[in-house]
Symmetry: C2
Subunit: 471 residues, 2 copies
């Protein structure tokens, strides 16, 4: 348990970005760290001076206390005020008329006039429009309006205000309410120009195409930039949603299997030999002895079954030193693995895996609508088609479907990616599902520990689960 | 998702043990595998011959169908009979009079006479006594009694029988019912002599001492043997319980934090530089470039916070190439990590961590009584003392307590293990708790990213959680 608290949120500060950039390329040199620290210190002092000067410049403003940059001493674990911050995602029509305090990243800063401005604040997948209108009654001065619009994008901002309902539906924000701003404080200013503009990073292909048709040229954030500034790219609504869905998948995976008497284990990743006999293994030195990174928890799961656990699952990293550069090959990925003892037939496993997938699909549909819609906006997709009772086909039946559709195929060989995708399309056309199980593979194409079929040793007790033509 | 089903359970078969032994030493050579396969095939054929001969030898037995070795073809995913196996752990007094089918490992085989025998079957942490009494009414012959007692320990056995209540409480089994055996089949015979006798492996120190006082010498299973035959050692009730509790801790950790709006993440383990600047890092080659195994998810967690996730947790392996050989140093362990954005004070984190631990303690007490008792039988312990409202002490208060108790200590230095343990004892005496939080450590003893206290930069916004004198 690491118990150091996070520093006060400073996601867009210069020093944070530099640490990130260093991480993504090579080791962090101590020299560089010291340099960064000195730079950060200087920046801090400069900003303090600026704040100390500010009150003089704004002396004429009777509402000066209602806005400003919060000095670092104030946000540094000094007071426990008892105030509560409302989550932006919780701001709905029921909150109308209530006074709220919110904290978010300044996504859009839109001055309308000297006396009016809009600031859109974002918190994870949710955005809300904050309205500033200079008015003595509200305690809002023109200086305050100027302060708000002078903030840099992605600065962390506290807003106090009253929730109101807009006259027309808001297109630019997720929340269908507005905040009439009474106070606005900047907790942490982002540098004026960030390497990624979030609006650029969050656009769908359709938006690019539409702009192009109108003769506009929108900025595309390329993969390199996204990865070099991952902490900023992660802030796009789609990325926020993808990570949440990943967590939901893992939660449901664990919950379903635990309810079926599986036990979660963690098998070693530093091991004395390769897991599956392949050449694609990362090698390292372990106290002067050769060691490998586990390519699979397979044998450890089986040892757990021999060890009397009956049913086990594991969620953890898998390492494969494969040079293949396809979306199905990753040097490091998180495996969701399960293994169980069977009483008399391997269909017992098949049924568990089947039930597990269907439970996950249902869980996501029931609990992650907001996340799915958010992803859909940037990366449009159709909802997955699956049956309540999952389709199971033998390998032979699959081969037959492919042959009838004109694919030349070796009946006892492995399916290549193209054949698998085609089978996926054929199954979808014929059975109306994108999720099915193919079983009884030829023994020759499965790993050494696979059991042959009792009545035909050319086939094996094995299966793969296909989603959208890929297993 | 790996979808190969487990082979029919064969935990104690010769070939399984050999695979395990290979794993624990070096890579599995293909030659050895082929040799093993040939050996296993031979053994299989021999046992088939034996079974084919058996019916002739036992021809005189009208109840021959009620017992025997199940040939491998029968257990190899041939039929789906629809039979259900009752879990041994579910056999209680409510089951009395019912006919049940159970599958377990033969833990004890105790012939009483030609006509009577006891067989104790074990499934995970649970054991039940099966009683064989030769009787024509029950369909049990003396040959069947002989067959049952001729089984090797740890063989996998199916028993059909009627649940009865014993006259006196049973000391040797966890379940307080007996099974009057009607049918007994061996699914998989263990080799006659296993490297570990489970009864030896499961004994407590108290049992060894008692035996020694009586002039008996019991066999001790040493650590090397346990690790070389891990799949057998895992079968001890205490190990079964420990792994289950580990899983419960992880479940509750995730559930609690998820309910507090944390998102589970998985940060990279193969990274371009060391995580915490230390020398104790495993180095390897990644496509011709130097890489390291992550020593901590710390910076990645912080990047997630900068990335707008607000609150994240991670459960995953942590790698540290430390040579220190203490129970607090491991080259590979599973870290339970959490990181969160704070609104105004690091006590917000402190409160979450505090609530998390107390929730886990309560969860284990409420859901794992059987597991805790099982561990207690082999490794006696006192229940953990903790308060509903967790004690928080400043580092300064901790130092003061130690000084008053006569410990010489550097007030701004780090606590060594001995001092920490002593503080744990002092706190337990004074406050009646073994769980407390020590906060506001000297800045100098914390990592570079720790925030100094706003009013005294010699101290820092940091804390550690102590359980039984160790953090």
């Amino acid at each position: 348990m690491s118990s150091e608290p996070a520093p006060a949120p400073a996601p867009a500060s210069a020093s944070t970005e530099e640490i990130e950039a260093d991480l993504s390329t090579a080791t962090i040199s101590k020299k560089q760290l010291k340099k960064d620290a000195r730079k950060a210190e200087k920046a801090g002092k400069a900003s303090q001076r600026q704040q100390q000067q500010q009150p003089q410049a704004e002396e004429a403003d009777p509402f000066a206390a209602n806005y400003g940059d919060v000095p670092v001493e104030e946000i540094q674990s000094k007071v426990i005020s008892g105030r509560t911050w409302t989550d932006i995602g919780d701001l709905d029509e029921a909150a109308a008329g209530r006074s709220v305090l919110i904290r978010g990243s300044a996504q859009t800063l839109r001055p309308v006039s000297k006396k009016m401005a809009f600031v859109v604040l974002r918190q994870s997948m949710s955005t809300v429009q904050c309205v500033l209108v200079a008015s003595a009654d509200a305690g809002v001065s023109t200086q305050m309006v100027r302060f708000a619009t002078s903030l840099s994008k992605e600065s962390i901002v506290d807003v106090e205000g009253v929730v109101t309902l807009p006259k027309e539906p808001l297109k630019a924000t997720t929340q269908q309410v507005e905040i009439q701003v009474r106070k606005v404080y900047c907790i942490n200013r982002a540098i004026p120009t960030l390497p990624i503009n979030l609006e650029d990073a969050a656009r769908s292909e359709a938006e690019f195409e539409k702009a192009e048709q109108n003769g506009e040229k929108l900025v595309r954030v390329l993969q390199d930039t996204r990865l070099n500034y991952r902490a900023i790219d992660l802030r796009t609504p789609a990325n926020q949603a993808i990570f949440r869905i990943q967590c939901h998948v893992e939660n449901k995976f664990r919950e379903f299997l635990f309810s079926e008497n599986f036990i979660g284990i963690h098998s070693p990743k530093l091991i004395g030999g390769s897991s599956e006999g392949g050449a694609s293994v990362f090698k390292l030195e372990y106290n002067g002895q050769p060691a490998c990174l586990a390519q699979s928890p397979q044998l450890y799961k089986q040892m757990s079954i021999c060890g009397g656990f009956g049913r086990v699952f594991e969620v953890g990293p898998v390492f494969r030193a494969e040079k293949s550069n396809t979306h199905r090959h990753l040097c490091e990925f998180i495996g969701l693995d399960a293994e169980m003892e069977i009483k008399e037939h391997y269909f017992e496993v098949c049924d568990i895996i089947d039930g597990l997938f269907v439970a996950i699909f249902k869980h996501l549909n029931e609990n992650c609508q907001k996340e799915l819609e958010t992803i859909n906006r940037q990366y449009p997709f159709e909802p997955l088609k699956y049956l309540e009772k999952t389709l199971k086909l033998t390998y032979e039946e699959g081969i037959k479907m492919l042959k009838e559709a004109g694919t030349e195929i070796e009946p006892m060989g492995d399916l290549n990616t193209e054949a698998e995708k085609k089978l996926g399309r054929l199954v979808k056309e014929k059975y109306g599902t994108e999720f099915f199980i193919l079983y009884q593979y030829p023994l020759a194409v499965r790993p050494f520990y696979t059991m042959p079929c009792y009545d035909d040793p050319a086939y094996s007790n094995s299966f793969d689960v296909f989603i959208r033509g890929e297993y």
